[in-house]
């Protein structure tokens, strides 16, 4: 298990490094001049050269890359072009908001998706099962920003049940929670569909196994069999899969933060794109990519811990 953990960790670090290499080289290869775009058409050549030197864009490509990696290791992501504040500090201020949003979103999807999947596995091929299947596909297909916009329109603008913008007063937990409900629902709804499907398939597999049939033969109540014995087993592969979902949750969080005007990494990066604040964008992309790699790593490790066969195949 230790060997597997080390190997898997090495692979995760390698993937993040190669991902950043690809991103930097993609940016390097495309025609277009970042300095020109950032400063506008009226910038003088001297201004552009100064901007490039400030961003480190005047150096050879591989030097830029290794400098970037070195800075990442020491936790230095450069400074904001306009306010000159360190990017690391800005990200660490915004990250808790995004993490809270993504985790509560994940919570929503588990709260709705797991019982839904469980229910349709138990009442297999019933009308409700078919209805759930359609709902799941709908949840997966409909873009999260549409869900966010419609939730905002219905519950915040028309009905005024929930606040529309911001993250709530710092320190006032009730206020913060009421600000979190709509955005997290928008983020998590897509995963309701995935989870319902995973849990249904996994439940159906478990329900056919011998020990469940045995429990049934002993005359244990069906509800106890389904929700205690079967669900416990069926949920394990699902938990291991959750890590993969964090990537799409982060993408959803970007939109939720914009729509509900919440602070967070996504909003910070989108604002930075509009002002061509290159270091902030790179920092935000790096942090979210690392977050994604980390959650995939954790879910893989959980899967390997639960099922030794995974370790041997690596």
């Amino acid at each position: 298990m230790l060997l597997y953990t080390l190997k898997r960790l090495g692979l995760a670090i390698l993937i993040v490094c190669v991902a950043m290499l690809l991103l930097l080289s993609a940016i390097h290869m495309v025609p277009g001049d970042p300095a020109g775009i950032a400063l506008g058409p009226r910038a003088t050549p001297e201004m552009r050269a100064e901007f490039k030197a400030l961003m480190g864009l005047d150096q050879p490509f591989f030097i830029q890359y290794f400098k970037f990696l070195g800075n990442v290791v020491t936790g230095d992501l450069g400074v904001d072009v306009w306010s000159k504040r360190p990017v690391t500090q800005m990200i660490s201020e915004q990250l808790p908001h995004t993490l809270a949003l993504a985790l509560v979103g994940l919570g929503w999807s588990m709260l709705i998706g797991i019982p839904l999947g469980c229910f349709s596995a138990v009442h297999r091929n019933s009308l409700l099962d078919k209805f759930t299947a359609v709902i799941s596909v709908g949840c997966i297909a409909i873009p999260s920003f549409i869900v966010g916009l419609y939730l905002l329109l219905l519950f915040a603008v028309e009905l005024r049940w929930f606040p529309a913008i911001g993250a709530g007063e710092p320190g006032n937990l009730g206020d913060q929670i009421s600000h979190l409900i709509l955005p997290s629902l928008a983020v998590g709804l897509g995963w309701v569909g995935y989870l319902a499907r995973f849990v249904r398939t996994s439940m159906l597999e478990v329900m056919g196994e011998n020990h469940i049939r045995m429990a049934r033969a002993y005359g244990l109540p069906t509800r106890r069999i389904t929700y205690i014995y079967a669900l416990k087993l069926a949920i394990l592969p699902t938990v291991a899969l959750l890590g993969v979902g964090v990537g799409s949750l982060i993408s959803g969080a970007v939109f939720a933060e914009i729509i509900f005007a919440r602070p967070g990494v996504g909003k910070m990066v989108v604002d930075a794109v509009n002002t061509r604040n290159y270091p902030i964008v790179m920092g935000g992309v790096l942090v979210t990519t690392m977050l994604f790699a980390l959650s995939t790593l954790i879910s893989d490790l959980i899967a390997a811990w639960l099922d030794p066969r995974v370790r041997q195949g690596f």
């Binding site: 390698l14 993937i15 993040v16 190669v18 991902a19 290499l21 690809l22 991103l23 993609a26 940016i27 495309v30 277009g32 970042p34 775009i37 359609v134 596909v137 709908g138 997966i140 297909a141 409909i142 873009p143 920003f145 549409i146 916009l149 419609y150 905002l152 329109l153 603008v157 028309e158 398939t201 990537g247 799409s248 982060i250 993408s251 970007v254 939109f255 914009i258 729509i259 990066v269 989108v270 930075a272 794109v273 509009n274 061509r276 604040n277 290159y278 964008v281 790179m282 935000g284 992309v285 979210t288 990519t289 994604f292 790699a293 995939t296």
Partner: protein, 298 residues
């Protein structure tokens, strides 16, 4: 592709039963979701292709007196903040959405097939290198990758297509690579090689036809994803440039005026919901008809 099963060989003397050519369509239409998906997709495609014909107004025409109007017989879905007819803009927005989806998915498919076959058929080190690159590209949250590229290149239709191609190609390449690996030691390939066929010939005329069917189904399921990316970026104001109508930019206008009128947000969202649902239902039903094996994986 025809597969030979034990039942087929056992009854070799019996006359061969041929399925009618359009049997799959019948099978698709018998599934209510598949039929509904096909209907929605047809509706979207027809309305986008015939946008100029169906539009009651010029999508660029301003009518400042009637700005932010609610739906009426004159303006079926109301007007936006500049008084432009939302219905006409939505019809033309469909053209952009479908254009982005077709061009980028077509490009990714070709690139993915080429790279995947290269990885599967080529030497081991190349396979490992390409796999590492594929996995690394998939490690980016798509929207973050798009934002990083847009910062440098600037927002445009071409940027969106480029980003989508870069992020979807690895998925196709990985599948093409896995199927190539499992096919390349098959007997018919070995026979071909012993007959003296060259690598290129084996790859193009023998491997390719076997790889393409499952990939085409995945493509149809990726169309809504791509349309969502385009609309999402346009919603952030980082997609297509303003006079061009996009569902995302209609939503962006609607978001800005959400306290004045709910109609722009409602009208901008409906075509996106119908399109994503339509393509997803159609894709899933097509997959069930053509390749039931895939069902378990997704």
């Amino acid at each position: 592709m025809t597969t030979i099963t034990p039942e087929d060989t056992a009854g070799a003397d019996a006359p061969i039963k041929r399925e009618p050519r359009l049997a799959w369509l019948w099978q698709l239409l018998r599934n209510p979701l598949g039929a509904f998906g096909l209907f929605l997709v047809a509706l979207i495609v027809i309305s986008a292709v015939g946008a100029d014909f169906f539009s009651p107004y010029d999508y660029k025409a301003l009518d400042v007196k009637n700005r932010l109007a609610s739906p009426s017989w004159a303006h079926l879905l109301g007007t936006d903040n500049l008084g432009r007819d939302t219905f006409s803009r939505i019809l033309h927005g469909g053209q952009i959405a479908l254009y982005v989806a077709l061009v980028s998915i077509g490009t990714s498919l070709v690139l993915g097939l080429a790279l995947g076959m290269l990885a599967g058929y080529g030497p081991r080190w190349l396979d490992n290198l390409l796999l590492l690159i594929f996995d690394s590209v998939r490690a980016f949250p798509v929207i973050m990758f798009a934002l990083a590229v847009i910062t440098v290149v600037g927002p445009s239709l071409e940027t969106i297509i480029g980003v989508v191609v870069m992020t979807t190609t690895p998925g196709y390449a990985r599948i093409a690579r896995n199927s190539t690996l499992s096919l390349k030691n098959n007997e018919f390939i070995l026979a071909e090689r012993s007959l003296g066929a060259g690598t290129i010939r084996i790859m193009v005329s023998h491997l390719l036809p076997n790889l393409i069917a499952p990939l085409l189904i995945l493509c149809s399921m990726d169309i809504p994803v791509v349309i969502t990316i385009e609309a999402g970026l346009s919603f952030l104001g980082l997609g297509v440039k303003p006079p061009t109508p996009s569902w995302g930019s209609i939503l962006n206008d609607g978001y800005g005026f959400i306290r004045n009128t709910p109609w722009l947000v409602i009208a901008g969202g409906i075509p996106l919901i119908l399109t994503t649902l339509g393509f997803t239902f159609l894709g899933e039903s097509l997959r069930d008809v053509f390749d039931p094996k895939l069902k378990k994986d997704r």
